[in-house]
Symmetry: C2
Subunit: 204 residues, 2 copies
């Protein structure tokens, strides 16, 4: 679906063949974008923060928007992958919701800058790529929707309107604004607390 167009010959065969320099650029750019917004950060700033000159920077990236796209998709894809693994592994609907909740909060907490960009800078992407990212968001929401539907068929949950699911996910997504990354343990606690909120609303 989402082809990672890195550089000419970079990572076609092996999946983890992204140059460490590019990785560093992605991290630095994510921090800057999270701080001042995509349009508020110039390539000059990224150049200085990474210690690379303009030319060297553009050797590792193809465009500034390319950078944004990679940042917004990286951990959202992970979220989907992990979410599907949880859905496959956990059969109890209640425990599945709890696991999804913890995983979501921990990912947001551990990659706060990237998730901030992912949730807040969608508008800066051009049409095609924005549609790709919103597609990822839909895919992730579908994982939760299926978890709730499973609980419904098993008689544990009551029907949940999609607007309520959107709201509940917004509860997680909006946390980038007030969350302070203190560690995964803290994030897990919040995940558990939010899971209670969800379960209180979807349980029979």
């Amino acid at each position: 679906m989402n082809e990672q167009m890195t550089r000419p010959q970079a990572d076609k065969g092996d999946g983890r063949k992204v140059s460490p320099t590019r990785l560093k650029v992605l991290q630095v750019a994510a921090n800057l974008f999270a701080d001042r917004g995509y349009s508020g950060v110039g390539v000059n700033e990224i150049s200085e923060a990474t210690g690379l000159g303009r030319g060297a920077l553009y050797y590792h990236i193809s465009s500034k928007e390319d950078l944004l796209y990679d940042i917004t998709t990286a951990y959202m894809s992970d979220l989907i992958t992990d979410g599907r693994a949880i859905a496959d592994a956990e059969t109890d609907p209640v425990e599945r919701v709890r696991a999804l909740s913890r995983a979501l909060m921990m990912t947001i907490s551990e990659h706060l800058s990237e998730m901030t960009v992912c949730f807040r800078e969608l508008h800066a992407l051009t049409d095609e790529r924005r549609r790709a990212v919103t597609g990822l968001h839909s895919d992730y929401q579908a994982i939760w929707a299926m978890a709730l539907a499973d609980g419904l068929t098993k008689g544990v949950f009551k029907p949940t309107p999609s607007v309520v699911l959107k709201g509940l996910l917004g509860m997680y997504f909006y946390s980038f604004l007030w969350l302070t990354p203190r560690g995964p343990q803290n994030a897990a606690d919040i995940g558990n607390a939010f899971a209670d909120v969800v379960l209180n609303s979807v349980r029979k």
Copy 2:
């Protein structure tokens, strides 16, 4: 405390008279900022969209950031004013939460562009003004916190961790991303649905 600047129209006991041209500029700018982000919109674009030349535009505003500040504070101040009125008028904790919920969703829905900017473009403000706006957010959260505390003392609610309240408010705030002003459900319906979510989590 935070009401020194101009607010759209003088229907709320605001003595200041705002020129209709400035009002138009604020509306147009809010739409543009919501669409492409504060830093992504140039004053040239605002100039063209309003039909005013650069000089004429700067006769009505003092700076681009001034515009952003007014947009972010206008309806957040209204939210606080209305919220306090609701808190004073409604003594039943459950009904107070429902009223707050409906009012919040209706304000977000009716002024979607402005609220989008308010929730998403905070980082573009300079320190002093950003602190002022985050202060407004805190003030608004305090209104909800007092509503929950009131329900607690009346024996209707159980204690609610502040992190849960932040999450529940995020459920509302994040809705700017998927809300459609003329969507299948009206804002009051969504407000009621969200109120149920809140009440399911705070009720004894």
